[in-house]
Amino acid sequence: MKRKLIAAIGVAGMMVSIAACGSDSDKAKDGDKGTAGGNKTLTVWVMDGSAPQEWIDGINKEFEASHPGVKVKVETQQWTDIQTKVTTALSENTPPDVLEIGNTQTTGYAASGGLADLTGDKDKFGYANWSEGIKPSAELEGKLYAAPWWAANRAVIYDKAAFKKAGVTPPKTRAEWIEGLKKLKAADPKSQPIYLPGQSWYVFAGFLWDEGGDLATKDGDKWKGGLGTAEAASAINFYKELQSFSSAPKDKDEATPQQSTDIVPKGGVASWIGLGWEAGGAIDAIKKAGKTADFGYFPIPGKTADKPGSVFFGGSNLAIAERSQNKDLAKEWLALATSKKGMQSYGTAVKGGIVPNDPSAQVQPEAGSFAEAMVKSASSGRITPITEGWANVETEPNPIKGYMTKVLKGEDPKKAGEEADKVIAERLNQ
């Protein structure tokens, strides 16, 4: 998942991380004092925006206290060019010991032999308590290569005032959703009832799963794309219908320009589909501009009222490099960070804005918060196909995005889908 999770912390979290980095040197000094020998440094790579600084500081403090002479060095990585960074790092003699890896990319690295096999330590990590939806991304052919860490999914964020003015209440079904958007359009023709760029492919994936299709399926020992199917056609047609309420560009995703900070704060958007950190970012940006955001949240509606729409479970796993020089220490750190207690304090730090690996560690989100809406659809959470080639499909130029733009601009879904399927198959089966 190429997005960060500063659930409801947004810019504030960034400031914390900047301020908190200064404490590294202090820690080093303490470590030197505390131990006579056996100084070891455990390097942990986390992705920008994933781990709230106060949480990771807490974990490290606890870890360093119980492991005298060990210093934990946390290096925050940016998402730009992350694949190259991780691949090359895993090939080095002194790789980072623990790394955060996106859940859609873990299988690929597991298959390449770069990640340590953790099957023997299942119990240490509390494998038995992990939720079934989150497990598969960390496993390959029956072996465990990572500890699932957190996941998050999208929900609809709406402007309460705009909804009230149009007399619209949060919908439960797709039909109600469209009905509401029509009303919003009528109430304020100048505004966008929903902001939805043409390439928000994780949203599309949800619609596709609702139709019973998938992005790719295994056919014998080969993979094939699933965009040329009838299911994909109805999914993209629904997406098209939604998108027709938006004047967002058809050939961009939600990050260009960033919908949360560059679009929504400017006003004129009654609703949009986003993640928790995006909602937080928008709230902060609106505050910075001297106004107050009044957002409500609801799960992406499903086809029927009894079940919310399927959502993509974006998230991260924590893995250990096969070449790590400190595997045992790394395992202990991993066990601590992903333990129920660790996950609970993580959940608290982000106000319940994540789905933890262990459902019983879920922190109850505040009523009316984004997290509340998000957790409601967690039961319909899915992830992208589990295969080592999947990371290649996601890499730009992403064929799914190209397919979406083509159909939105009027091309036949089947034809565009079959073209995209060819690329998907090529990348999956290489």
Binding site: G49, Q78, T80, N93, P257, T261, A285, K288
Partner: protein
Amino acid sequence: MSTTTPTPQKLRTRRPLRPAAVAKNLTALVVAAIFVFPVYWMFSSSLKPQSEILTKDPVFFFKPTFENYSTATGVDLFWSYVTNSLIVTLGAVLLALLVALAASFAIARMKFKGRKGIVLIVMMAQMAPWEVMVIAMYMIARDNDMLNSIPLLTAIYFVMVLPFTIWTLRGFIAAVPVELEEAAQIDGCTRGQAFRKVIFPLLAPGLMSTSLFGFITAWNEFAMVLVLNKDKTNQTLTFWLTQFQTAFGNDWAATMAASTLFALPVLVVFIFLQRKAVGGMTAGAVKG
């Protein structure tokens, strides 16, 4: 050309409204505006509050804020990136000047077998596809335990700017009349002394404009850093800037502030060298 001769001043005062002159200056202004506009946009964005950066109708008047600069410079390790960038860039440029001076002197002033071959090598070295050699370079560095090394990065940038430096300096050296050198030698200087006392001072402008170019090239490089120096304390300002989209969480104002700071050294060097550099490029460029 007329303006460089002493007479045109008079000419102009006599005929102040010559349409050709007006057209000329107007064109110059328009061209200057076109070239400056993106730079101006970067700079003005760096002074805007985030909410006024991307707007349907561009904002030209706003209350400037320096907050973005403190955000940019307040980033963890910012000054370390600056220092690394300066060390690597200046180190590379100085090394290149030194090595190129020797080589270009030989090429421009001496006769030896293989001279033409060297000229050819230097020319071909200009074409080196550094961007795509990144992985090969990485594998070499990795297998020799030379990752996360500032000296290695400096050395790579040095070789990156070396061919151009040799090429340009050769022109400058050739531009120095041999008679001067010979006169010095007649006066009893050794060849080395003649070089130091006569040629070198005359080369100053050439050295400056060449180093300016080298500076810009090395200053802008980042692809190597991505794979070679993954340890943050050994990364450069440019590299960090390329990661901006996430580094600032889409804080475009801070990004532009950082970019402005990033452009500053080059501008300072240029304004400092302005006359000499532009004048000095002459010889080198003509000669190539």
